[in-house]
């Protein structure tokens, strides 16, 4: 029942997001074929008719919904003759790889750094981690990206500066993308670890002579995972926004670049499909975070269903 409600809610959210996007791009001045000024009016009308653009916007939206539910996406306006899925599928794979690796680095690294800094609270290590994460969170990602390119690809020539290829091409973009989320997760873990360490069951464990590292990583970690897991939803938004910039700076033909180009070129079918994909990704992050939370702490699910009904 709980899961069914969640899924129903997600579908509703997707509807709302798609409708917002659909109507907002139509309200915006400019159309997809404005640049083709060479054609006479009759030909232009034929083009509009071919893509169904001469109908009322609400009819167009209704047709788009019908197509989407059946899983059919139309041809792109910009890449003639190519279906939207054939354009977006390869780019989605690239973006997911990039995002997945960054997520892993940020989350696992953040939990470890946060736990270490809480375990040695007030020490030099703690202060060093604090300042590193502070700088990581305040460093504009375009500066990170450009500095990394300047140092590692222009001066040292260790990694390629842009484009897409094998593993070496992934290093600088994932570093850029994971830096900020890494800081956020470290902070969350540190705070909740410190809270967990001050609770009674930990004091009991110390009194019984359980070794320090065992208390940190076995006893306290599970309870302090709640905050970083709950942050997964926000992390998803960070990664998606970050991917726009990283793909732009590193010239990676991923989903973010297609999205920005589609919006600027008024390539409606491509834009709508990309919006849906982003919606699904962000919902998945939120849903995954809720699911994991309920697994770690059964009380959370009980409380949530209570407040829903």
């Amino acid at each position: 029942m709980y899961i069914l409600k969640k899924i129903l809610g997600s579908i509703l959210s997707l509807f709302a997001v798609s409708a917002l996007t659909f109507f907002l791009v139509r309200v915006a001045p400019g159309g997809p074929f404005d640049t083709d000024t060479l054609y006479p009016a009759e030909i232009k009308n034929l083009i509009l008719e071919k893509y169904g653009l001469n109908q009322a916007v609400s009819t167009q939206y209704w047709l788009w919904i019908k197509d989407s539910v059946r899983g059919e996406f139309r041809e792109s306006f910009q890449y003639l003759g190519q279906s939207v899925s054939s354009i977006l599928w390869p780019s989605l794979q690239k973006s997911s790889l990039l995002g997945g690796i960054s997520l892993f680095i940020a989350w696992v690294g953040g939990v470890i750094l946060g736990a270490c800094s809480a375990a040695k609270k007030g020490s030099l290590l703690d202060r060093m981690i604090f300042w590193m994460t502070a700088i990581g969170m305040s460093l504009p990602s375009y500066l990170t990206a450009t500095l990394l390119i300047l140092v590692f690809s222009i001066h040292l020539q260790w990694f390629p500066a842009a484009l897409w290829g094998g593993a070496p091409f992934l290093v600088l973009p994932t570093l850029t993308l994971s830096l900020r989320p890494l800081g956020v997760i470290t902070r969350y873990t540190r705070r909740s670890m410190i809270e967990a360490l001050s609770s009674n069951y930990i004091r009991t464990a110390y009194a019984q002579g359980v070794p320090h590292w065992r208390i940190i990583f076995i006893y306290a970690l599970r309870n302090s995972l709640i905050a970083p897991v709950a942050a997964l939803g926000t992390l998803g938004t960070h990664l998606v926004s970050g991917s726009f910039l990283v793909e732009n700076v590193f010239q990676i033909p991923g989903l973010g670049r297609h999205f920005v180009m589609a919006a600027l070129n008024r390539d409606y079918p491509l834009l709508m499909a990309a919006t849906l994909i982003y919606g699904v990704i962000l919902i998945a992050f939120q849903g995954g975070s809720d699911f994991l939370l309920a697994m770690i702490d059964p009380r959370i699910q009980a409380a949530d269903t209570e407040s829903l009904s």
Partner: protein
Amino acid sequence: MSRAFLGLLILAALIVPEWGPYSFDQQDIAQALATPSMKHWFGTDALGRDLFTRIFYGARISLWIGFMSATLAFILGSCLGMLGAYFGKLVDSLLMKAIDIIAIFPSTLMAILFSLVFGRGVFGILLALTLTTLTAPTRLSRALSLQIKQQEFIQAAWAMGATPWRILLRHLIPNIRQALLSAWILQVSTNMMAEGFLSFLGLGVQSPACSWGTLAHEGVSFLQSYPHLIVFPSLVLLTTSLALQNLEPS
């Protein structure tokens, strides 16, 4: 330290573009792409505009957008959160549903859409940032209010016949103010960074006006030969963000 830095920054942002030796859009092609010197402290850009002046002119826009969008989002969000917590049931679930929808709308997407509708510039970006940051304060104030609502002193106040307004103003707001204020300061810094990010992508403030992100955007094509064009504006943004994060609201 943080206070002093922010104070100086605001002062310089007010003074330098007005009474400095250069204006933010004054071009001098003969001096184009000059490296830092006594005459141009931070060097000049591709059109010979003084970078020092432009950075402090950009400070006005960057700080203004960060401050305004976070403040508007927090005022609106706190009210919505308290409304949801007070009424509960249908109002609450509708509000939270709306917030969930905003939450799955990436801010970049919204900024792009608004920049298409309203044209690229301060207004579109301000609106997009305000809307996308609405989620955090709403959820925070709702959670805090729900927590406080169940405590004994509120129930005692109800029992003694206090009006909803009195409970809101005298009991609820004083108790959640501190948490909201600390989150607000962080949001100012986050939104300032988000503005830089969007302007860097070319979706925000457009030349000849500039924010720190616009300056970095203009500088990125000269990365190899003139890195100072991107490094100086970014370092100012970095320092300001650090200062804001270390600021304890009082």
